[in-house]
């Protein structure tokens, strides 16, 4: 047991040295508070785990965007940068500002270009952009609002795994905004938001594939 721990420490130190040699940013670790105590209280450890995918699933007006913006605001308050991959191009900056987000340190990415595959491949530019941002290590948190409805589960799975790998590499919190019915996401944490009732309800759904949630 002790030997294994020692090996892990050596491996981690080697990784740190490689990052330094490659002039890559140090990997962030720990948790990112989502900025809302009532949600943090539900999250394992009290925040979104850095270097992982976190899924915010809900209908069109369920509150998932507001929750993502609150987390981005929290990332900014720690001195980091935040990004929002806005596939549908609907994020309204004045609302983000009124929620406390520093607009000058929030990168909007609106991949308007539709690739050759048409609607079937419409999600690809946004997912690619998210992968670049997550893997760069330059951002503390990245919200990804890309419709996955055109993708089959078989097609979406490798793309989402790439996102997860990029988030791990960059130590970035990836917040995926999904509608009900979207393919399963290999997320460490999933929050279901339900706006059918008068107040959105929150439910932490442990992901079967994830070791992060007990």
């Amino acid at each position: 047991m002790g030997a294994t721990t020692r090996q892990q420490e050596i491996l981690e130190e080697l990784r740190r040295q490689i990052r330094r040699l490659e002039h890559r940013p140090a990997r962030r670790e720990g948790l990112l508070s989502c900025g809302r105590p009532e949600v943090d209280a539900l999250l394992p450890g009290g925040g979104f785990p850095r270097g992982s995918l976190c899924e915010l699933r809900g209908g069109p007006a369920s509150g998932k965007t507001g929750l993502a913006l609150a987390a981005l605001c929290q990332a900014q308050s720690e001195g980091g940068l935040a990004a929002f991959v806005d596939g549908p191009g609907e994020l309204y900056p004045p609302a983000a500002s009124s929620l406390g987000v520093n607009l000058s340190r929030l990168l909007f990415v609106r991949p308007g270009h539709i690739p050759r595959g048409g609607a079937r491949d419409a999600a690809l530019p946004g997912l690619w952009a998210a992968e670049v941002l997550l893997g760069s290590g330059a951002f503390s948190a990245v919200a990804v609002d890309v419709s996955l409805s055109g993708l089959s589960s078989a097609r979406a799975e490798p793309l989402l795994r790439r996102l997860r790998t990029a988030a791990e590499k960059g130590g970035t919190v990836a917040l995926l905004l999904c509608r009900p019915g979207a393919p399963t996401i290999p997320a460490a944490v999933r929050i279901d938001l339900d706006a059918v009732r008068l107040r959105p309800s929150l439910r932490i759904a442990p992901d079967e594939e994830s070791p992060h949630v007990a």
């Binding site: 002039h23 890559r24 940013p25 140090a26 809900g58 209908g59 069109p60 007006a61 369920s62 509150g63 998932k64 965007t65 507001g66 913006l69 900014q76 308050s77 720690e78 001195g79 980091g80 940068l81 549908p88 191009g89 609907e90 994020l91 309204y92 900056p93 004045p94 609302a95 983000a96 500002s97 009124s98 929620l99 520093n102 607009l103 000058s104 340190r105 929030l106 990168l107 909007f108 990415v109 609106r110 991949p111 308007g112 270009h113 530019p125 690619w128 952009a129 670049v132 941002l133 760069s136 290590g137 330059a138 951002f139 706006a195 059918v196 008068l198 959105p200």
Partner: protein, 512 residues
């Protein structure tokens, strides 16, 4: 009593066989190669020299000695351009650089001693930097540091050593052993001196200066001074007029269809050179253009917008590699040209608390990749605009990584004007704004709305708050809207408005 002004210290960097080196640097390693002009060999590579080809041979003689000899015609304009490119890169080392055709560049090295270090050590460091830049530009140079440009030039061109240094006041002694040709005197004077048996610079220095002045006028007086290590002429500063571009000839017709690697390799070389030239001018590229010339004709141009002005060739290479790898070309590539289309001063990096330089670099690479693939307009930051029309209430601005975080303080002595305060965002705005708004059909009784049909789906109205009237812009496109915040069954909160012009209802946003 007047104190005599110290002569300027000059660093001369000479590129031996410049036409040959220029030809070799823009193509893969070749075999026997010679530069010829008017049927005569001017420069040859070592392989051809070993085969018996000598400068001055006729082309027929050269081909007889070396059957596989490849011949490149002399291109004086291209050589001059290459020399100017080198001078441009060397501007990063000294504020005054002079181009001295056909094969040398001069730098003002007087300031090197101001660095506080030992003058000899400071000049050695300057020479190291110049040699590094020279190598980055694809040339192998020889360097001399001496008093005055004539002395430095003679030493750089004629000692045959990679580095020569004549300490202040020692120019005459170091020059004395060189042949008279090192001073590059006018032909008439050189011929007369040879006829009277003057063969070295030292012998010329021993002649009385007055006699030379009487016989050859001002040229004779200047030659006498130069032989004594005295050359007070100032440098003629070089000022580049255009943005840099560099070319690479892919000998052997490398096709990117089968493998993009050779093209990427060539692009990297070009990027290094262009970056070195830009750095010399204190500029950074904000847009590059890579032109791939196809065989036998046609070309493909890749525009590469960069996230911010930069001279980091490694950062340019990431999006360049992606763009080249993604190309499908109808023909092999025979040449590349990398040009700076837009450049700007490199802004000082303002890092936020906790940010580190590697974060800034990682950000630059990521933004350049996104910008190259998705287009510049796809990436932006936003700032509030003082407009009532909701869809106009913000504007896109370039994303600056150095934008201060909310907690950062502006340095009181920075001198920068404080930015005007952004207008406060109006309360109660939806997180998502729909563009275009979607039509809504209302049903109800007695003037009370009970159901809204959106996208064909009827949804019961659970609550309705409003109106908030927004109107204005009478001078342009007048609008008048009454906004309501509506909670709908099965959907959540929505932002709808009634258009004052026709009374129709529209869904404009969602409180997601």
């Amino acid at each position: 009593m007047s104190r005599e002004r110290a002569p300027p210290r000059v660093l001369a960097i000479a590129v031996p066989d410049l036409p040959l080196q220029r030809s070799l640097r823009s193509r893969p390693p070749a075999g026997a190669l010679a530069v010829v002009s008017e049927g005569l060999v001017l420069h040859v590579v070592a392989v051809a020299r070993a085969a018996g080809v000598r400068p001055g041979d006729s082309l027929v003689q050269a081909r007889a000695a070396c059957a596989g000899l490849e011949v490149v015609p002399l291109d004086a304009a291209a050589d001059r351009a290459a020399l100017c490119a080198l001078a441009e890169a060397l501007l990063s080392l000294s504020p005054a650089v002079e181009v001295s055709p056909p094969d040398a560049v001069l730098l003002d090295a007087t300031g090197a001693r101001l660095s506080g270090a030992d003058p000899a050590e400071a000049e050695r460091e300057l020479a190291n930097g110049a040699l590094r830049l020279c190598a980055a530009m694809g040339f192998e140079g020889r360097i001399a540091v001496a008093d005055g440009k004539g002395v430095a030039l003679a030493l750089a061109r004629h000692t045959g050593r990679e580095r020569t240094r004549a300490a202040p006041g020692e120019g005459a002694r170091v020059l004395s052993s060189l042949p008279l040709a090192a001073l590059e005197l006018p032909a008439g004077m050189a011929g007369w001196l040879a006829a009277v048996g003057v063969e070295s610079v030292g012998a010329l220095a021993a002649l009385p200066a007055e006699g030379l002045a009487q016989r050859f006028g001002a040229a004779g007086a200047a030659a006498a001074r130069l032989a004594r290590g005295i050359d007070p002429r100032p440098l003629v500063p070089f000022a580049p007029e255009t943005f840099p571009h560099e070319e690479w000839d892919l000998e052997g017709e490398v096709g990117v269809l089968s493998s993009a690697e050779p093209v990427i390799f060539a692009a990297k070389r070009l990027a290094d050179r262009v970056a070195a030239r830009l750095a010399g001018r204190g500029l950074g590229a904000s847009r590059l253009r890579l032109t791939l010339r196809l065989d036998p004709r046609g070309e493909e141009r890749l525009d590469l917008p960069l996230a911010r002005p930069s001279t980091d060739a490694a950062a340019w290479l990431v999006p360049l590699r992606e763009r080249i790898s993604g190309l499908r070309l109808p023909a092999p590539v025979r040449a590349l040209d990398l040009a700076v289309v837009e450049a700007a001063e490199v802004p000082a990096e303002q890092l936020a608390v906790g940010d580190r330089p590697e974060v800034a670099r990682a950000l630059e690479v990521a933004l350049s990749r996104l910008s190259a693939r998705l287009g510049e307009r796809s990436l932006f930051a936003a700032e509030a605009a003082d407009r009532h029309r909701p869809e106009m209430a913000y504007r896109a601005t370039p994303f600056r990584s150095g934008a201060p975080p909310a907690t950062a303080m502006r340095h009181p002595a920075s001198g920068a004007k404080p930015l005007p305060p952004a207008p406060d965002p109006p309360p109660g705005r939806p997180t998502r704004l729909l563009d275009p708004p979607r039509p809504v059909v209302a049903t109800g009784e007695g003037g009370r709305i009970s159901t809204l049909r959106i996208d064909g789906v009827p949804r019961a109205v659970l609550s309705l708050v409003g109106p908030e009237r927004l109107a204005g812009e009478w001078w342009h496109e007048p609008f008048e809207r009454d906004y309501y915040r509506v909670r709908l069954e099965g959907l959540g909160e929505a932002w709808i408005y009634r258009d004052g012009r026709d009374g129709r209802l529209w869904l404009h946003g969602l409180f997601d």
